[in-house]
């Protein structure tokens, strides 16, 4: 990875050895960087634009060089320094492009370098309608656009250095061609194994959370009362689990919502039990061996449906600081700061609005919460916080003005924008987002049709594409509890409960009891959401018989044993883990579920709440860099 211009100068021995005031050093750095830029000007694409006609074979080429650097995603690049622009204009009308597509690709020589492409409709501020963001090693990226859907006129191709060292210029091609016909997922689908918690542990396990500590390799999970540490002995195959009870000081106190969050990079796990206007919370840096009790939350009145998340702070890059005006917000101290390197966020809702509070000391204390949205914007309850590598915060919501919505903060939770997920319909389960390594948002939701959908955005939710019903391979008519995790930008897994039975599967079950068998399904993409492998991850062992009521505390007894959600995570090798509550655990219940001729209503169900984990056994994980070491069961 090459140093940026500023890093080059600011790290120079001569400069760092100078005994100058900090602000003067900064000025010298800027002066040197400016001089460098004047002597070695940044190269824009050559030519900067071109025009294509609606004829198969119409093409234009361009080249670019002189841009080098590393970015977290498109939002942190500076044009002319570590990203570049090329404009394509399509003549004619969309109907002229029937049977044709616009294919755009860039190629370079050094496989360790990593260029990405984002194609905006119109100017750079327009929606991203296609992107190619695979990681190294490879020497090209390409996208395909259907002008009959996205229109003619101007397209802006944004070539972004994900990690590019100087001296490896790229060449670009845009051409009108005929589309490929195969859109099915290729390769081998992953397989999964189920691990039920041992007797006496995880027996009261509604709405579980799960996290992976990349440093220790352990899994942490929490349901209603138990915080559990799970480790796998991989010297045998299939791997054998060890479950240990690792309750924090507050986990066993009977309170309201339980939440666990593990920052996989730092290894810190925060456990929380909702308690009125805050939560009882503690964190551990050693997978539950010891805990530090924390403030709990930053909100004085948000009493319901808390969620905790975290990740890198949103900070300006060195190149962004050189730009005029500076295109990013600098994080100022908003509370006590420790050496803990990441942000922790606490969100909750009450009295008509939802709020989020930042902790700059790893969840020990929180600032006063900032409003995210009100009921005027979105429904009250929200899904769980996810933080991108670039520090952008995402909170999904199942109904924002008649569609699913994504609440986005680009400034560490100071201000928020509500982005509608266009093309979606509101549902009754909280949606979930997974964020790819370069910022791609995978939004998993249960639509108004009850089906498990997932949609993709490359511009922080401003536009959406590839909305797919991933339940089609199993004829899923009803689904609940969508949970998404992503790894590399092109890879994500989507866990949901589903049943092929039609009818009111998530209601109060007041009439004829709903008859259906629910399984856990995991859909996985390796191509950025264009295609998905959907797998029954609980074959032969139903998760629930009958209704899964998603109407909250108004649900009648016996319909809401699973409570409100499940969870999914990925470990350092890219292996997918999910946590779910198993409502059907006895041999009798399982036999009923496997007997297609019998009934499968809540009267047949165990109404159990048993903590269970799904662990990916084989197949590609969510990190391409581990593909050469196949996963073992």
């Amino acid at each position: 990875m090459c140093p940026t211009i500023l890093e080059l100068f600011s790290s120079s021995a001569a400069l760092s050895n100078l005994k100058l005031p900090a602000n003067l050093k900064l000025r010298v750095t800027f002066f040197l960087a400016l001089s460098f830029a004047l002597v070695f000007p940044a190269f824009a694409s050559t030519p900067p634009s071109g025009t294509l006609t609606p004829a198969n074979g119409s093409s234009i080429t361009w080249s670019g060089g002189g841009i080098a650097g590393a970015t977290t995603d498109e939002t942190t690049c500076v044009d002319g320094t570590d990203c570049d622009l090329f404009t394509v204009t399509l003549t004619g009308s969309p109907s002229n492009y029937q049977g044709l597509v616009l294919a755009i690709s860039v190629a370079h020589s050094v496989s360790l370098n990593d260029y990405d492409i984002y194609v905006h409709k119109g100017t750079l501020s327009g929606p991203v309608i296609a992107s190619a963001t695979a990681g190294a090693p490879e020497t090209s990226e390409s996208v395909v656009i259907d002008p009959t859907l996205s229109g003619t006129g101007v397209y802006t191709v944004h070539i972004v250095d994900s990690a590019v060292a100087p001296g490896d210029p790229y060449s670009g091609v845009a051409r009108i061609t005929t589309p490929a016909t195969d859109s099915q997922a290729r390769g081998t689908a992953p397989t999964y194994a189920n691990y039920q918690s041992p007797p006496g542990l995880g027996d009261g396990s509604g709405e579980p959370s799960i996290g992976a500590n990349f440093n220790s390799g352990r899994i942490m999970t929490q349901a209603v009362f138990d915080t559990l540490q799970v480790s796998f002995n991989t010297s045998t195959s299939p791997a054998t689990p060890t479950w240990l009870l690792k309750n924090g000081p507050n986990t066993t106190i009977t309170t309201l919502d339980p939440i666990l969050f593990t920052d996989s990079q730092t290894g810190r796990t925060v456990v929380s039990q909702l308690f009125g206007t805050t939560s009882l919370s503690a964190f551990t840096d050693n997978d539950g061996a010891t805990y530090t009790v924390s403030q709990g939350g930053g909100i004085a009145s948000g009493i319901d449906h808390q969620t905790i998340g975290g990740g890198p702070f949103r900070l300006c890059t060195a190149n962004q600081l050189l730009a005029t005006p500076v295109p990013c917000a600098q994080l100022a101290a908003r509370g006590p700061i420790t050496q803990y390197p990441h942000a922790v966020y606490y969100a909750s809702q009450d009295i008509g609005d939802a709020e989020m509070a930042l902790s700059q000391d790893g969840g020990l204390t929180y600032e006063a919460a900032h409003p995210m949205y009100t009921l005027v914007d979105c429904g009250g309850l929200h899904g769980h916080i996810k933080v991108a590598k670039s520090g952008i915060i995402y909170v999904p919501n199942k109904n924002c003005g008649g569609v699913q919505g994504l609440i986005v903060s680009m400034d560490n939770g100071l201000t928020f924008a509500v982005q509608p997920v266009t093309g979606s319909t509101p549902g009754t389960s909280d949606p979930s987002v997974g964020i790819g390594a370069k910022g791609r948002v995978y939004f998993g939701y249960i639509g108004g049709d009850g089906h498990p959908h997932i949609s993709v955005s490359d511009d922080q939710g401003r536009s959406w594409r590839h909305d797919l019903d991933v339940g089609v391979p199993f004829a899923i008519h009803n689904a609940a509890f969508p949970e998404v995790a992503a790894g590399d930008n092109d890879r994500a897994s989507y866990f949901f409960l589903g049943t092929p039975s039609a009818g009111n599967a998530t209601g109060a079950d007041t009439g004829t009891p709903f008859d259906g068998v629910w399984h856990g399904y995991i859909a996985t993409t390796y191509d950025g959401g264009r295609s998905w492998f959907t797998v029954d991850a609980t074959p032969g062992d139903p998760v629930q018989l009958g209704v899964i009521c998603t109407q909250g505390t108004t649900c009648p007894n016996g319909t809401r044993n699973l409570l409100d959600f499940n969870d999914i995570t990925v470990d350092k090798d890219g292996r997918v883990f999910t946590a779910y509550t198993d409502g059907c655990v006895t041999a009798a219940c399982i036999a009923k579920g496997n007997n297609a001729a019998g009934t499968h209503t809540r009267l047949d169900n165990d109404q159990a709440t048993k903590a269970t984990i799904i662990r990916q056994s084989t197949g590609r994980g969510l990190f391409k860099s581990y593909d050469s070491t196949p996963l073992r069961p």
């Binding site: 004085a300 609005d353 009100t374």
Partner: protein, 195 residues
Amino acid sequence: MTRLHCDPDDSLFSRAAHRGNCPAFLSTKGIFVAKKMTRSASLVFLVLSLTASAVGKQPAPEILGLRLGMSYSRAYARLNEIGQFKSEDEGQQVWTLSHDKHYQYVIIGFDRDRTVRYVTVLARPDGQPVNYADVGNLADATRSGAEGNLRYTWKANDKKGHFEYLAIAKGKDPRHLNRYAVKRLGVTTDEDERD
């Protein structure tokens, strides 16, 4: 104390105020319109009243005539007087206010007995601003946050209804609130159960 005439069109005043109990203080965040007094006399009186009465005044357990503990039917009737229904989410309703100079929306939540659990109003962006101090005595409030994200919270006791409640004013501006809420404490709600 001389009784002022409260403008019935000013929906900041509660229905109780309209019935003739209008206090000589902005107990419900209102602004006086003293129609039957001379303008100069009104102003002098208003300033004096505000100054004298602000000390020790707690926020009322109601907003726009929507009182905590009020039955659903009465609250619904009042909401129909002051606005139009916009949306509902899990039993919480959003209403667009028709002619209020200060607030654009009211959000209302009910408890399991279908009585008012909370009322929240959102300031109209281009409306007449409401000061935090119009809500209650700031000296009695707990102040949290910082400029850009201020919050004043009062905890009060309604002797008539025999319940405790919170009044919460929030805003970005150092003087004017963006939203104001009253919320009843100690009632059984859906959120009080495991969710």
